[in-house]
Amino acid sequence: MSGFKDVSHLFRFAGLFVIAFLVFLVVRVYVVPKSFGEYGHYRAAAIGEIAAHPIKFAGHQACESCHSDIADTKAKGAHAHVNCEACHGALATHANDPSSMTPVKPDTLVLCARCHTASAAKPKGFPQVNPADHMGGVPCQTCHNPHSPAIGSDTGKGAAAGGTK
């Protein structure tokens, strides 16, 4: 029995590990979400929670159902595959009730430069300019129609002003 007595303190230290491990397991039961691991290494309930978020984007079909003139102009130009809300922002609220809010027109000096500022990493065929040299502070829509940007297609303020309500 005295043989055990001389090693009993080691068992006490080992007991600390056992207690720590048990505490870990108990805490784990409480802090790991119930749906964790149901489908994969994530919380399955997150899918429902994310799906419940209000929809913010209306989709280009919704825009085109009212602004058909703009849609026609856009379909013929280089921006045919750029979605409306890529430039105008998420507008589900406006699409659901047009009178509830009026979308703010983007500042073309900022918006156009975001894609068309020259950079070595962009493909050679992609239209790109040095904004300071190219327009010197004059808004892009003075010369380009943002919905169909090739010069001569349909330029000027009227073209960029938007379509019918």
Binding site: K5, D6, V7, S8, H9, L10, R12, F13, L16, F17, A20, V27, R28, V31, V32, F36, G37, H41, S119, A120, A121
Partner: protein, 392 residues
Amino acid sequence: MSGVEGYMYPNEVTLYWSVLIVLYPYITGLVAGAFILASLERVFRVDAVKPIYRLALLTALAFLLDAPLPLQFHLGHPERSYEMYFTPHATSAMAMFGYVYMWYLMAVLVFEIWLDYRREIVLLSQQSKGLMRVIYKIMTLGSNNISERSLRIDEKVGWIVTLIGIPSAFLLHGYVGFIFGSLKSNPWWSSPLMPVVFIFSAMVSGIAAVMLIYMAVTKLRHQKIDMRCVDAVAMYMFYIFIIDFSLEMLDLVHRIYEADESFRSLDFMVHTKLYFSQIVLQIFIGTLVPLILLFLTQVGQFGEIARKRIYVLCGSLILIGVFAMRWNVVIGGQLFSKSFLGYTTYKMALVTREGLLAAIGLTILPLFFLWVLLKLLPPWPKKEMQEAAAGD
């Protein structure tokens, strides 16, 4: 864009891994190095380093307690950090690091220190008064058995724990190197030599830190520095430093000779943005100068005072050099574009969560931990400690 030269991809302009991520491998390295120094006495029976054995263990513990804090400061939501341990994924290097850390903290360091101090803890629990008595009582875990046989068993178990501790220390710091070395997308980091280089530089920095702390603490206690011990520590530090230097040079030569597509970009970075921290601080001041000085102490005959001064200078330069190495790895790896066409700049903030002041605070904090540990578990020769305990 200010601070950007050439072309950077948008997500490369800002550095996400700050000075705190430099601090993290640095502090973890000091832990590994201090423990390896302690193991010299325990496993390899180098009697000369006996006076530093306990101090090395306590230093390792003090720095280990500090090691995860830079990561916590870095996280946007530190309160969620526990989640990766409760739902660990086998591909998460950081989750695995947490387990290695806990293993090293509890099963190696705390257990070994407890075994080594058990006799003193029991005696102090009987001799102390008030709160200290309660603390020591808790530390005994309710066992007052300090019979000769039980202490002999402790000695044997302690030896085994140290033996397990050596690969654990390598694993702990190897893992830090692995986290960088395994990032195949970054040519500055991606290298199988990275964990090995990290381990050896960690050993050198840890030994230097313990040597400096030993000399400073002994001086503060108005005691005589055991030069036989410091000479032996410096000798081992020199030998390991040679291996570390050779490995780093091997890595460098390998990169230069291989000269893959990233080489010109990285070479340019080393000669411009990293010139001071890599060439001047890391290689020249932090490696060549201390190596030459340590070499001189090995071959020449110097007086005690001269040796002390050289060791203090070498230790300080090594700590600066290894910190510069961590800086160059962590910060350097984020300064160049993966397009190899541009470079960004790291602007260190001053009074922010990841700024200079936080980094200084987290560097000093382990010294405070060590001060508490030294008060609680004095590593001085047992006779002296018992006299002090009896005098309380």
